[in-house]
């Protein structure tokens, strides 16, 4: 599994310490398995395909290895206790993908660039354990959804 990582900063309001605003960044990768045989529908270069086809018959390269970059701005709500603090969060943002795609076939352009690909939303639920006055451990489960529309053939 490729490395997944992220950064998050949260500012908790002094006037209302249950609420905070957060900036969240996620970095993930995708490399398709071009040897896989999957369900397909539609046409490729005018030829109807289906019900299955090998991914590599369509794509020579199909990956986002320089990142599925997701940037979120959102809010968090927490229930502070002496030792344990559960929290919830929600964010909306944009996805910036590094698109690396080349169709199978002669003279197909190679797309290799960053593109603003769509809108992301995320929700998270977590638990923080206070170890000291300025140190905590936390863990959360985060679910994100991103739309990704990308253009191919910018770089021939």
């Amino acid at each position: 599994m490729p490395p997944y990582w992220g950064l998050r900063g949260t500012y908790w309001f002094n006037a209302n310490p249950n609420w905070g605003v957060m900036f969240d960044y996620n970095y993930t990768k995708v490399v398709t398995d071009k040897g896989a045989v999957v369900n397909v529908s539609g046409t490729r270069d005018g030829i109807s395909l289906g019900p299955t086809d090998r991914v590599g018959n369509t794509f020579q390269v199909m990956e986002f290895t320089d990142g599925l970059n997701e940037f979120y701005l959102g809010g968090q709500y927490r229930w502070p206790h002496e030792r344990w603090t559960p929290y919830l969060g929600f964010g909306v943002g944009v996805s910036v993908r590094h698109v690396e795609v080349r169709r199978r076939g002669p003279a197909q352009p190679y797309t290799f660039d960053y593109q603003l690909a769509g809108v992301d939303v995320e929700g998270l639920v977590g638990l923080e354990c206070h170890i000291g006055p300025h140190v905590s451990l936390f863990g959360d489960y985060k679910l994100s959804f991103a739309t990704n529309d990308t253009d191919l053939g910018r770089l021939a």
Binding site: T32, S41, G42, T58, M62, N148, D149, D151, A156
Partner: protein, 59 residues
């Protein structure tokens, strides 16, 4: 689920929007990861025809 791509662009990838002008390049719509790691890929080709690949495994 996936989002429909723009079918646009007088130049390759230069414009986005609903059915503007004449497209010369392909476009991808909605590659998205799932919990299981599958990817739905919707390829829109320059002639306007589509090809959908469902649940493509990712490494």
């Amino acid at each position: 689920m996936f989002c429909e791509a723009s079918r646009a662009g007088r130049k390759r990838g230069a414009l986005r929007g609903p059915d503007w002008g004449r497209r010369t390049g392909d476009a991808l719509a909605g590659p998205q990861t799932r919990g299981e790691g599958g990817l739905d890929i919707h390829l829109i080709q320059p002639n306007g025809t589509n090809l959908t690949l469902k649940d493509v495994p990712v490494l």
